[in-house]
């Protein structure tokens, strides 16, 4: 009994509940004639797809900038890189890495400007981030229409200008990362490449937080006054964290798209930040502290729920309630995290 209580305490009640729910879903999946192997595989694919984007939230949380609801900014940078890579007709791994490489400078520029804004509004970051994200998405709606891309697979077939709502990557770098070293056992497919990449990104972030800048950043997040007193440039650290977060967001969306198969432009990036934030919080992170462990666990649980509820609940209960369940679970998690007591900063 004590051990169970200790476990619940260590893992956190919401994680235990959600985890239990997920296990239950897997257990009853055969009743709904759903292959467990395939479901697990779907969950893993989604986890690897979304992992980098969840990871992108970590630097900002660590530096005390809160949850990055402005993730769409990074996503837009990633989309620009991906579009350029298709426009120049670069295929395979070259195309993928070109997309990532090109998106990074965009992300750095966006992130820098965004960081400057956030430094001016300490305390209100999350609210402003949300609106910076929203308004940048609608600004880009105009840009997608006007940017002079010419590749026929990207622009409207009829009008001959302006980008389509969804742009297929299937002829360029669909699944290049997913299928790298991947294997299939029966219904079970494992996207080894994406996991290797996710691990690599995690390693980079882990390594970064062990450098001098990284530790300084954590210090800024946990106690800005103290950090200032010990000679750390607080604003600079915060800006770096925002730039880093935006760059990771850009890479994250490229990984996502190579698995997904399409670039989603226009209003596509609008609400992309919310699932990522929900996943991170589900993993046990709080508004000002997040670890890589939180990222991995949270993404797995969140994506597991997303994959399993529609198929299992729909086929068992014959309803289409899954969408609502997802809304309630993911936003409920965010609220839960926001209402948790945290030690008062400053």
């Amino acid at each position: 009994m004590k051990k169970i209580r200790a476990f619940i305490e260590a893992a956190g009640l919401p994680r235990v509940i959600i985890g239990g729910f997920l296990v239950l879903l897997f257990a009853v999946a055969p009743l709904a004639q759903i292959s467990v192997a395939r479901s697990v595989s779907d969950t893993l694919v989604r986890m690897a797809m979304n992992g980098v984007m969840v990871l992108a939230l970590v630097p900002m949380v660590q530096s005390g900038c809160g949850l990055n609801f402005g993730l769409p900014l990074g996503i837009i940078a990633g989309l620009l890189g991906a579009l350029l890579s298709i426009e120049l007709d670069i295929t395979g791994f070259a195309g993928l890495f070109f997309a990532m490489g090109v998106s990074l400078p965009f992300a750095a520029i966006f992130g820098y400007g965004y960081g400057l804004i956030l430094n001016k509004v300490k305390g209100d970051e999350m609210m402003i981030a949300t609106y910076v994200g929203f308004s940048s998405v609608s600004l880009m709606c105009i840009a997608w229409q006007l940017l002079p891309f010419t590749s026929p697979i990207m622009i409207w077939g009829y009008g001959g200008s302006g980008l389509r709502v969804t742009v297929s990557v299937s002829e360029h770098w669909l699944h290049v990362l997913s299928d790298f070293l991947s294997f299939q056992i029966g219904n079970f497919y494992f996207p080894t490449g994406m996991f290797l990449f996710l691990a690599f990104m995690c390693f980079l972030v882990w390594g970064f937080f062990r450098t001098k800048i990284g530790t300084a950043m954590t210090a800024v997040g946990s106690n800005p006054e103290f950090a200032r007193a010990s000679g750390i440039d607080v604003d600079k650290m915060r800006t770096i964290s925002v730039v880093l977060s935006t760059m990771l967001g850009a890479i994250g969306i490229v990984v996502y798209q190579q698995s997904f198969g399409f670039l989603q432009l226009y209003t596509g990036p609008f609400y992309m930040a919310f699932p990522a934030v929900a996943a991170l919080l589900l993993g046990g992170a709080s508004v000002n502290k997040a670890t890589l462990f939180n990222v991995i666990v949270g993404t797995f649980l969140y994506q597991g729920i997303c994959t399993m509820t529609p198929s299992v609940i729909n086929s068992l209960l014959q309803t289409d309630m899954s969408e609502m369940i997802r809304l309630i679970v993911s936003n409920g998690m965010i609220i839960y995290a926001l209402t948790r007591k945290v030690q008062v900063k400053r």
């Binding site: 001016k120 509004v121 209100d124 402003i128 308004s135």
Partner: protein, 370 residues
Amino acid sequence: MKNKSFKDILISNAVPIIFLVLSAAAIPLSGFTTSYLIQEMVTRMGRNCFLVLSLLIPIAAGMGLNFGMVLGAMGGQIAIILVTDWNIVGMQGLLLAAMISTPISLALGWLTGEILNRAKGREMVTSFMLGFFMNGVYQFIVLYGFGMVIPVENHAMLLSRGFGIRNAINLQGVRQVLDKFLMVDIGPIHVPMAAFIVIALFCLFILWFNRTKLGQDMRAVGQDMAVAKSAGIAVDRTRIIAIIISTVLAGYGQIIFLQNIGTMNTYNAHEQAGIFAIASLLIGGATVSRATITNVFVGVMLFHLMFVVSPMAGKTLMGQAQLGEYFRVFVSYGIIALALVLHALRRRMDKERERQSLRGGDAPAPANGH
């Protein structure tokens, strides 16, 4: 007060001024006639002011912009659905809708208040997410509850599968009953006098409320929670009451809004209520910590003026109708971000100045901030 420089006035009214300049440039581009614009403004003032006014009390209580007002809007919508189903028409229908929405909004407001008390310092983002969360619950009730648990008599409102309300409801029974109740024509302009009387009553209520003991307490809590607590004010309770009042009033506001619009999008009508109301208030020169009735009227006016003219102006500028549309969305979100940033900047400036004046010397006195 006297040595408030021109620059100070500019900075403290930056948002309305920017908006005024933008609109001034956009109006000729849009090509609308003066009478159309005035009529449109009058109509929109009548339907939106109440919603925006409902935001004032939580601001006084120091809880920032109450994004949780969408919960009240949901309560109002459920009431409207019921009244339309029962086919209660005219003023009676409208009043009954308001009455039904009251207990629903009370409960939702209490819930919001409880949650926000656990998220002190993060009220805005928490209430924002709460809106998304309750959206799921609302969908669940309306899409499954109606027809399954709550009986629905009017089958034209139900999906053909037997439960769940259709995505658009025609509010024929209560359509514009408040507006038409006392319509005064001034020249070519129709003025929905009854709606404005209701709004005026609401303003009086706010002015009266500020003078009551509860209103005073609320301001004290808004100034400094710790001081208020040591003065014997029940801080948490006061905050909950502020949110409850705001939520209930938002429910009424949504009912007024919907009777003017005449049709309701069952699953989405509330989504924009909060965003647009907040944008209007901020554009009127309000800040997260200080908002007046004047801010409300100026804000609704400017925001909706921009709203009406910007798609057409954007079209004229960029040659494509849809670009004008995207531009409008960009402006409405961008302005909120801008207003929040400017507010934060101003707060910082004030703090800086305070620090200087504490050091003594002949530094300028702090601006009459908040």
